[in-house]
Amino acid sequence: MSAPNSSENGKAIILVVDRDPHVRELESHFLNQAGYVVEFEQNGESALEQARRIVPDIIITEILVPALDGLSLCRQLKADPRTREIAVLVFSILAAAGRAKEAGADAFLLKPLAEHTLVNTVRQLLEARTARLRRTQHER
């Protein structure tokens, strides 16, 4: 199992997977403002490769992305020991909270973007992930 990376300056890394340039721009702005480093991918396949390479703290993915849809991406991330600790937030125009949960997502948000909700959810996911990693280390 790989522990998620943080950026060089210690900020959490978030990989955003969305093909809408406006969503990417706004997510980037509000997440940067909240103190996170944001990387982008526009389709699920390249996001999976990038996740394996950089192991971000969180992946925020739309369901409707090309090549590999967001739910399939989530399943593959959670099935792979290298990426299963990455928190996945499904952020979609589709009202599919149940399907996201089945796919193993850690949280679901419905679009459009509401920055306070987004940043709060990201913060909670990071806190939960940190607590989980500490427990794992303690058990070892």
């Binding site: 809408d20 340039p21 406006h22 969503v23 706004l26 679009k111 459009p112 973007l113 920055e115 306070h116």
Partner: protein, 476 residues
């Protein structure tokens, strides 16, 4: 529910969070308000109330400093002028200014940089202000900056994409014309379109509000009258038939007419909840019979409403006392007299007042005297008929027995088409006649229709004296 009441475009199961417009009646028309995260256009000629409606909406939703409401002026009215006039309305709250309601002038930037300034501006305000609502007034003025339709379409594509991505509700205000709807791209991206119009009706103007489009939601179709008052827009939603279809036999009790000799001709009186059309020429006794109908209800302990358009309440109360004797305080407290000048008022306002009185006082009997005046308020007999039909259906559902007087003299009411419509919507029709007979004037009454009653078909002579109309036994 009737198709008209349901309106258009309401897919089953779809549900959007709504923002109140600040106007309860408009919220009813929109089935709860403006859907969140939508792009809306308020269109209408200058002076039609567009900015007032937009501002009412803004102040009604200005309750979170983290999510302020932003009003951007463009190249039409100067910002100072907008704010100056805003302050006359009761919904204006100076405490909200600069905190939850932000006014900003965008005109100079647009004038300098052109249409290309729009998208960066919207990105900037979203990133720096997190606005819950963005109002752009006038957006039509921005449209006029486009050097080509293609340029406008491309910019709007980007703007619509940005606004759809972010949780904000947008109102584009503009002096658009009807023909613009088919050609201007902002109407294609708009989720909601509300038109405000002003039409000349006789010597006065009537203002109308119409919802053209409300994507993914039902709404009440048609023209809804409104006025601009100190409180903002006072909207009178168009009356439509009640949800439940009326059955005139729902209440099996009878409502005595109060006219001596008439109830035996009706096997005991009108069905409770039925609508009776009382038609006749001027001076034939219609108003007198209407008063008798009300006095009978008062004697029986019922609450009653008399609506008239020609005599003020003092004059009318005098007539009531002449016919019904001096009313005691209890009876007087159960009588409500509504007087309107049909020349000055819209039918929508009259109908709203009638229903307010009905709901306030559990009214059992209503007289409307006379339909010709109501037609004058409506502008034409067809429109009056639409209102009347819906009103009578509501009366039936509420168990209110109504008597509607109809002059057969004025041309506006006398057409066969109009009589046919009125006949169709009435449960009972009673004709009063005055004509010379063997050198003397004879008054008569004939029941032309009494739905669900084996009524007397004969014309009967009537007499009118200080106590009212009565059927003369065995004559004519």
């Amino acid at each position: 529910m009737s198709d008209e009441a349901k309106g258009a475009g309401g897919p089953a199961g779809a549900s959007f969070a709504r923002l109140p417009t600040g106007n309860r009646e408009l919220d009813d028309i929109l089935q709860g308000g403006i859907p969140e995260n939508s792009i809306n256009i308020i269109m209408g000629e200058p002076g039609s109330g567009k900015t007032t409606l937009a501002e009412e909406f803004m102040f009604a939703n200005a309750n979170d400093e983290r999510r302020p409401i932003l009003y951007l002026t463009t190249l039409s009215e100067p910002l100072d002028k907008v704010i100056k006039y805003l302050q006359q309305f009761r919904f204006f709250d100076v405490e909200k200014m600069g905190r939850t309601v932000l006014y900003e002038a965008f005109g100079d930037e647009l004038a300098e940089k052109g249409l290309g300034a729009l998208l960066p501006k919207l990105k900037d305000v979203i990133k720096t202000l997190s606005p819950k609502i963005i109002v752009i007034d006038s957006f039509k003025a921005i449209h006029d900056l486009a050097t080509s339709p293609q340029e406008m379409r491309l910019v709007l594509h980007e703007v619509a994409g940005l606004l759809a991505a972010y949780n904000t509700t947008v109102v584009l205000v503009g002096e658009y014309r009807h023909e613009d709807i088919a050609t201007f791209p902002e109407f294609a991206v708009a989720d909601g379109i509300i038109e405000l119009a002003r039409n000349a009706l006789g010597t006065r103007d009537e203002r109308y509000l119409r919802v053209f489009k409300l994507r993914g939601s039902a709404y009440r179709q048609g023209f809804h009258a409104f006025e601009i008052a100190a409180a903002g827009l006072q909207v009178y939603p168009r009356l439509v038939s009640p949800v439940e279809a009326a059955s005139y036999k729902r209440d099996a009790s009878r409502t005595p007419s109060g006219v001596p000799g008439l109830d035996p001709m009706l096997q005991g009186g009108f069905w409770t909840g039925s609508a009776t059309l009382l038609a006749g020429s001027t001076g034939s006794g219609k108003t007198t019979m209407g008063i008798q109908f009300i006095v009978e209800g008062l004697r029986r302990g019922e609450r009653c409403l008399f609506v008239n358009f020609q005599e003020n309440p003092t004059q009318l109360a005098h007539q009531f006392e002449q016919i019904g004797g001096k009313l005691d305080n209890d009876a007087r407290s159960r009588l409500e007299l509504l007087y309107y000048s049909a020349v000055e008022l819209s039918i929508d306002r009259i109908v709203v007042s009638i229903f307010q009185a009905l709901r306030r006082n559990t009214i059992r009997r209503v007289v409307i005297d006379a339909l010709g005046d109501l037609a004058m308020a409506a502008g034409d007999a067809k429109r009056m008929h639409d209102y009347l039909y819906a009103m009578v259906q509501h009366f039936a559902v509420m168990g209110v027995s109504s008597l509607l007087t109809l002059e057969t003299d004025p041309p506006i009411m006398a057409s066969d088409e109009n009589h046919g419509r009125l006949s169709h919507m009435s449960d009972n029709i009673v004709f009063l006649d005055v004509r010379p007979h063997k050198g003397i004037v004879v008054r008569s009454l004939r029941i032309a229709k009494a739905r669900g009653i084996a009524h007397d078909l004969q014309s009967r002579e009537i007499e009118i004296d200080a106590r009212g109309v009565r059927i003369v036994e065995g004559r004519l």
